[in-house]
């Protein structure tokens, strides 16, 4: 399988996230999650045919073919084997941990992968900016999920030293603070419009893994308001395989719905 020369950042983000998923994953998604849902469909169409996806947390093993509407919309439940009743069934599987993988983005993400999408400001009740709210991230952070974080706005306003409001629990204050609270799993990978990052296993601080084509580690650090764990050498994020790109463009997301997520991003796609 050859790699492609011509690709855009949205395509690179989808393919990179897809490659992180395996046939063992059981994934559910929330609203406006075009990049994760594209990645799920792409992984399932390629290296991870056994991957289980619960579309919008409702449509079990849904087969909509392509991204045809908002990711929480009934259009995405097409071909599923069950509509999962939310109150009992979905929350049982989520609370106990059967549904284990979730993807999250937010207005603020800190060095330990804690996330905020509620307010900007020092006082919750007197916000400088009111955001939509914590939604599923407030649950998933504490309910033992393997969390994949994505962001199309890698800048110092999004990647902050400490979130103004910790809506979603990541690695808390780092080290073993998450484990001490009795919480399993946690944030795994962070995929942005500039780079890929993970978390250093002991300190749980965010660590640079690879930089996208044309981006330097120094640029990533400049766009990050906390000090990244910086390995001695940082490779370029592998270019997408040609076949993955073809499937993404022609089958998975032919309307390029994923580009909606780049509103307000400095990266043009």
């Amino acid at each position: 399988m050859g790699t492609a020369r011509e690709y855009t950042i949205d395509e690179l983000m989808v393919v990179t996230l897809a490659k992180a998923f395996t046939s063992d994953d059981i994934i559910l998604n929330g609203t406006v999650s075009f990049i994760p849902v594209s990645a799920v469909l792409l992984a399932r169409a390629t290296h991870a045919p056994g991957l289980t996806w619960v579309a919008g947390a409702v449509g079990v093993d849904a087969q909509p073919g392509s991204v045809i509407g908002n990711t929480l919309d009934p259009t995405m439940w097409k071909g599923c084997v069950m509509y999962l009743p939310q109150y009992e069934d979905m929350w049982s599987y989520v609370h106990r941990g059967t549904l284990e993988t979730f993807c999250i983005r937010g207005a603020q993400i800190d060095q330990y992968g804690n996330i905020n999408n509620s307010i900007i400001g020092s006082d919750y009740h007197k916000p400088k900016v009111r955001l939509p709210g914590s939604a599923g991230m407030g649950d998933m952070g504490s309910l033992d999920k393997r969390v994949f974080i994505w962001s199309t706005t890698h800048n110092p306003r999004t990647f902050v030293k400490k979130v103004d409001f910790r809506a979603c629990v990541g690695w808390l204050d780092g080290g073993d603070s998450r484990a001490k609270l009795g919480l399993r799993n946690g944030p795994q990978l962070v995929i942005t419009d500039l780079c890929v990052m993970d978390f250093e296993p002991n300190s749980k601080r965010m660590r640079l893994v690879s930089v996208h084509r044309g981006i330097t580690p120094k640029q990533v650090q400049e766009q990050t308001a906390f000090e990244l764990v910086m390995p001695a050498s940082v490779p370029e994020t592998p270019a997408p395989d040609a076949e993955y790109l073809r499937l993404l463009r022609e089958v998975v997301d032919p309307k390029a719905m994923r580009k909606i997520e780049f509103r307000g991003s400095a990266t043009k796609v």
Partner: protein, 298 residues
């Protein structure tokens, strides 16, 4: 309130009169899906005040109510318009500190309602352990020690809303409410069981015999329903899966016009205050042919 096996069919204004100023109302809805919006428009026209609105996901109806000055407090996990972006009036009211917001995780608010439905003082969850969400409502969520394992869990105080409002596919006159498919969303499931009063608007009224032929679709039994209103397309501009999709044109207009208070006011004048009945609303949308075009999911 006792809900006997008797005719529950009322008009929208009669149903709205069951909601009192200051009530806590549990309102079904998502960003773009399944919400009793014909009734919401009626509540706005009736000038309701000081409502405390509990939802899982707040959307366009809640944003209208906030803009119209009906709402004192919101209990929810998120308020947005899905891919149409922010609920602008919610944002403005929050930033101007004119709205109380009790933000929960989804399983916290559902656990509160679940305890209310069971008549228990509280329920427990682990959702939100370690988060700042807990700090927002010490009177309703508290970390306690499990009496058996010693592990931390969150006690969520029972919530019994004064009234639940929902939109469904069909019902008979007694208020046997059916859903096609059966209840998927948590609000449809737990709101009517937790609330003291239940008002349901439906697309279609059928005979009791038809309900008895298809009891597998019944989600709420007559004894829990206080009032029923027949309003075809009563969730518009939200969707009612699988009958009709959300109205992209109206959502986009609202997303654009609600960027300013003046734009919001003009929108509400046109779609809410300026139309006194649901029939006028449907006529404004262009009648049967225009509504038929919403019945596509591709």
């Amino acid at each position: 309130m006792t809900a006997r096996k008797e005719d529950k069919l009322v008009s929208l204004p009669q149903a709205a009169a069951l909601v009192r100023d200051g009530d806590t109302i549990a309102m079904q809805g998502m960003g773009t899906q399944m919400s009793p919006l014909a009734l919401v428009r009626e509540l706005i026209r009736a000038g309701k005040r000081d409502l405390q609105v509990a939802m899982v996901v707040g959307g366009i109806g809640l944003d209208w109510m906030i803009a119209a000055g009906c709402v004192r407090k919101v209990l929810a996990i998120i308020i947005n318009l899905d891919e149409f972006g922010m609920a602008n009036n919610f944002r403005r009211a929050a930033e101007a500190q004119k709205l109380e917001i009790e933000e929960y995780t989804e399983h916290q608010i559902l656990t509160r309602l679940g305890a209310g439905a069971l008549g228990l003082p509280f329920g427990v969850t682990r959702s939100g352990l370690g988060s700042d969400v807990l700090s927002l409502h010490p009177d309703t969520t508290k970390v306690i020690e499990c009496p058996f394992t010693g592990k931390p869990v969150i006690a969520c105080r029972a919530l019994e809303p004064d009234v639940a409002i929902l939109h469904a596919h069909r019902a008979d006159r007694f208020g046997n409410v059916q859903f096609f498919p059966k209840p998927i969303w948590a609000d449809v499931d737990v709101f009517p069981r937790a609330a003291k009063k239940v008002i349901v608007t439906v697309e279609e009224i059928v005979e009791n015999e038809e309900i008895r032929r298809t009891p597998i679709h019944t989600g709420i039994p007559y004894f829990k329903v206080d009032a029923l209103v027949h309003v075809p397309y009563g969730a518009h501009p939200c969707s009612l899966f699988p009958k009709y999709n959300f109205d992209r044109t109206v959502f986009q207009r609202y997303a654009d016009e609600s960027r300013t208070p003046e734009g919001t006011r003009a929108f509400l004048d046109e779609f809410v205050y300026g139309l006194k009945t649901h029939d006028q609303y449907l006529a404004k949308l262009g009648g049967a042919a225009a509504l038929k075009s919403l019945e596509s999911w591709d």
